[in-house]
């Protein structure tokens, strides 16, 4: 499948202009920063604080913004118009995802600095953050493609928020209900494991396991979002 950088850039620029004029969605950019400031005051060593900061940012910013951008295009019929131009599936999906990717990366970098989080392994940290942004962007794309309106999209991310943000707390339930051990394989849980690595010592396995599990999630959700988009090219 061909990708045209010119078309990707055109869609990126268009999305940037639309996003910067859409205050209802662009206000989401400040939430991760607010959360970072609140937790900084509480102390960076607060248990689960870094995990909550990143996981909530991925849901409230990355997933929400992407879902809204896609759903708004559907609601106003611009997605179908875009599909009728020479832009390929990958041109549209990459173009529409790059804005959310860049915004998430910048806001998370600022939030990390404000919060004062220092990763045990900077490369693993960067890798898991990049994977998570792609993963939650794909999740947002899926939510947006399933929604008919902007309102539906806002509601559709609630299950994502509940499952993904709540998964790391599932360990508490897993003691009484072993079935909840499955929540440990959620990307948010794996992110918490990786963020919690000790500066004093960790094994390669401690780094690789969360990265590989999140990579698998990223691949699966990205493929699902591409398939779903292609199905939306046609009416039933």
């Amino acid at each position: 499948m061909s990708i045209s950088l010119k078309r990707v850039q055109a869609i990126f620029v268009k999305d940037y202009k639309e996003f910067s004029r859409n205050y209802a969605i662009s206000i989401m950019l400040i939430f991760p920063i607010i959360i970072a400031l609140i937790f900084k005051r509480a102390g960076a060593s607060l248990p689960g604080a870094s995990g909550f900061l990143f996981n909530s940012s991925f849901v409230l910013l990355t997933c929400f913004a992407q879902a809204c951008l896609i759903a708004e295009e559907k609601e106003r019929n611009t997605l179908r118009s875009l599909m009728m131009t020479p832009a390929t599936t990958m041109d549209v999906l990459i173009g529409k995802s790059s804005l959310v990717f860049v915004m998430s990366a910048v806001v998370l970098a600022i939030s990390t600095l404000l919060f004062g989080y220092e990763p045990a392994n900077i490369w693993a940290f960067v890798a898991v953050i990049i994977l998570s942004i792609i993963l939650y962007t794909a999740a947002g794309t899926i939510c947006g493609l399933f929604s008919k309106t902007l309102l539906e999209a806002s509601l559709s991310i609630l299950p994502v928020a509940f499952i993904f943000m709540g998964a790391p707390w599932g360990e508490v339930l897993a003691k009484d209900y072993p079935v909840f051990k499955v929540l440990d394989y959620m990307p948010s849980s794996q992110l918490v494991h990786l963020l919690g690595l000790s500066n004093t010592g960790y094994t390669t396995g401690d780094v690789l396991k969360p990265l590989l599990i999140n990579l698998a999630w990223t691949v699966v959700l990205t493929v699902v979002s591409i398939i779903l988009y292609q199905r939306r090219l046609k009416d039933e």
Binding site: I11, K14, E73, R76, R80, A87, K234, D235
Partner: protein
Amino acid sequence: MDVIQVERVRKRFGNKDALADVSFSIPKGEIFGFLGPSGSGKTTLIKILTAQLNPTSGQASVFNEPAGMMQQSAQKMRFGILTDNSGLYERLSIEENLELYRKLYDLPRSAVDKVLQFVNLSGERKKKVNLLSKGMRQRVMLACAIIHEPELLFLDEPTSALDPVNSAHIYKGLRYLNDKGTTIFLTTHDMAEAELICNRVAILYQGQIQTIGSPKDLKRQHRENVVFVELINGEAYELPIDEGTADQIADWMRRGLIDRLETKEPSLGDIFIKMTGSELL
């Protein structure tokens, strides 16, 4: 060379045929009008021809390729489309919307100026789309559809939201595009519009083509074989066209008695009603 070929295309939604064994072809350079009331299957056909919908059975081809191939970028460069499903970016200006399309079609900067002139919106280019009237939005959507001067243009009710002045401007533009070689596939329920700009028309009713031909030929076929004569004394006659009538009219003319003489030519609307027994709404 035919740009569009449709053979026995059927599209079924549930228990209802939206299209039933529709067949026709459109040669290059023609303005072809698909006429029919709302819900007659016009938009369904455009969706099939632009690969947005698969037919239940039958074959549709565009540019000698199966219509399903119209999803490919190379094919999309060759056609433009304006339908009810077209949309605009509300927070962007007219110019910004067109800039997006210019870049997607990889066109020179001058393409935006050219198309803005075409739709008579050069003076409004900086206006945000959410401030535009319905007619202006329709013109911007048309501009997006034709910015790349496509070989084939699908238009679904292109002037439905326009006033007569703007409609006339669009007709002029469509003829200009057609003169440059663009084949135009137009759906409308406006018979006057079809009569004015289409080389050929097909009347679609309940998913089936009722008749097809040039507006002139259709009118000739469905003309009532009578002549109306009104004499200067106020008497009016409806006479069959035959030798006796010709002699009678010649006599009245010699004596200077004729005030008005005309054949009754049906409009496309009359033909539609005659063929379907239904008003065109």
